[in-house]
Assembly symmetry: C2
Homo-oligomer: 365 residues x 2
């Protein structure tokens, strides 16, 4: 069923190696300082809002120059310093053993080591500190979220997880979509016959695209985000774009929340300003635009106060300064309506695949 590979995997394993090196460097630095009879300390870029700024070249939020020092010399720092080093050691073991964990699991695991966290928020914060220190996302050190999204298309991957190393599957294999979890995220791309990526917010539309054979017709890899995509999925979309050179089109509901799902895939979030390689700056939001609601006479619901408030916020957001975004925000505020992806079913179940998507792909070039 799955074939053994002959060629050596590269990118993913190399990345894991870099993560291990970063963790080991952190540990060595602590030892070196102790050997020199110094109180060990680490330096962290500050994540306070005053140090988060939008970088128009990278097209994402980044951290500024401010750093803070966490030192074992300072009695108030001893606790978070110890916690940070423990988390680094814990995830180092995870990677070494090819295991994964979740934020919740890390919190409970600490108790096995008599490391105290007063609640999960405290351990989550320390995990973010570690991301900041080593400049890798927690998924890179095997800490995954609960939510899962899915992928489908003519891409052959090769696993790198223990027990499956070298095995390959093609992502058209399961017509309900292939789950994006730790094993898929850490897989190498071996062969891809698709020439674009279509990212879809809703499960109903994802299934529709598979059933209607849209992946063949558009020669596309389909990614189902299940709402705001987990970061592992955002990184996977970036890899499809950067490693395979595939253009990315994002289809969401036609409302400020759907629009923002697209934006976070394209330009990331302020929360992840301390990280790179989660964004896909060249990805395109392909709809449902406010202007589509008018153009296709879609069934719609009136915007609620909370939607309107959100639109006003987004209008001022530096990520939304582009022409398309400003035009669509303006149109939403003018028509005061929103529509879901499923609204196209109004013209029959296959309309979205037969008419809307081809029109959009043509329009966006």
């Amino acid at each position: 069923m799955a074939q053994k590979s002959k060629k050596k995997p590269t990118r993913v394993k190399e990345r894991k190696k870099k993560v291990l090196e970063a963790l080991e460097k952190l540990g060595r630095d602590v030892y070196d300082q102790l050997a020199h009879k110094e109180f060990p300390k680490v330096s962290l870029p500050s994540r306070s809002t005053s140090n988060i700024c939008y970088d128009p070249v990278l097209r994402q939020y980044v951290l500024g120059e401010k750093t803070s020092i966490r030192s074992a010399r300072n009695i108030r720092h001893v606790r978070p310093f110890t916690q940070l080093i423990w988390v680094a050691s814990f995830v180092h073991t995870l990677i070494k053993e090819g295991r994964t964990s979740t934020l919740r699991d890390v919190y409970y695991s600490a108790q096995a080591y008599d490391i105290e966290f007063s609640d999960q928020q405290e351990s989550d914060d320390i995990i973010t500190d570690l991301e900041t220190v080593i400049s890798f996302a927690r998924e890179d050190f095997n800490v995954f979220p609960e939510e899962r999204s899915a992928i489908f298309g003519d891409l052959t991957i090769e696993y790198t997880v223990p027990g499956y190393e070298g095995r390959r599957i093609n992502l058209t294999m399961h017509p309900d979509g292939v789950m994006i979890g730790p094993a898929l995220t850490s897989a190498e791309f071996v062969e891809c016959k698709a020439d674009k990526v279509i990212v879809i917010e809703k499960g109903a539309m994802f299934t529709r695209f598979i059933e209607e054979g849209a992946f063949k017709r558009f020669n596309a890899i389909l990614v189902h985000t299940a709402g705001q995509p987990p970061r592992a999925t955002r990184r996977l979309i970036r890899r499809l774009n950067q490693e395979l050179g595939l253009p990315v089109y994002i289809f969401t509901d036609g409302d400020p929340w759907g629009m923002h799902i697209a934006m976070v895939i394209i330009s990331g979030s302020a929360n992840a300003a301390h990280l790179r390689e989660l964004t896909t700056p060249d990805a395109k939001w392909a709809g449902v635009w406010a202007s589509d609601i008018v153009k296709y006479k879609l069934p719609s619901d009136p915007l609620q106060d909370v939607d309107i408030k959100r639109l006003h916020e987004l209008r001022e957001d530096p990520r939304y300064s582009g022409k398309l975004w400003q035009r669509e925000i303006k149109t939403f505020l003018k028509i005061k309506k929103k529509s879901e992806q499923e609204a196209f079913s109004r013209y029959g179940l296959s309309y979205i695949v037969d008419k809307y998507v081809p029109d959009k792909l043509k329009e966006l070039g």
Copy 2:
């Protein structure tokens, strides 16, 4: 990759045939009445709470004897009668064409036929009416929910969906778990090497069980419910139990909500009293029990008022009259604590697989 099958699929195709027959009978009855110059009508078992009772033999809620008549003669019935017949015709086409849909999609699709629903609640209710009339769940007539859960284990399935007919995959193929969607739900079971089913509430634990090789050690098929399982997943669990004769063990969080996830898999819900074949009466709730919190000295959180209120409700619920359930409800109320599945990580990541699950399987026989 996937092999072509030689033998004819049976159970699933036969079931779809029965659903089609039930829909066609409904249509023929309407035509016959019209041919006899009668106003067409349908008879529906009443779903009012006074007509829902617990059947201790079936070990699930069922509808009583009361029925109501929906007749085109009654001006107030014309609208829901027309809607019902349209939904029946729409899903008949879905099955014929091997397509699926969602509740939301059905709501929008109606507009293509000039059938009016004032909101989605109205179309959802009509879909439930159709379930009641033909005694099949909406998943049987290809209307699926958004949520997806997952399965993993040594079971080979054969697809029946268009484009994949006769293709087979083994459910150990993707180590993130195989999504339970329309294609998996409608697949035939071809060969199973596992001898039990372990149902798991949390994604973290599901991944842990795969990573630690627990599916091999316990020779089990793993099912991830992702909280309260969608009905398609409940039916799949039932099929694993009834078609393959596998015992089913359910592991949830140790709180009233986890306990109730197990109960709904075992005995169903009052909402689905009009349906059969969604329950697995012989499945066992294997933990986390309240008594496990004490026995294993698990990290815990205090019960909230809402948890305590829920426990008092469940204590009076006829589904909870068994000894184990009453004992555990009493223990929860006594210790006033709850614990999550991940709490076992307190003893190391593999403790749950090395110690807890083997103990439990032994205890439950």
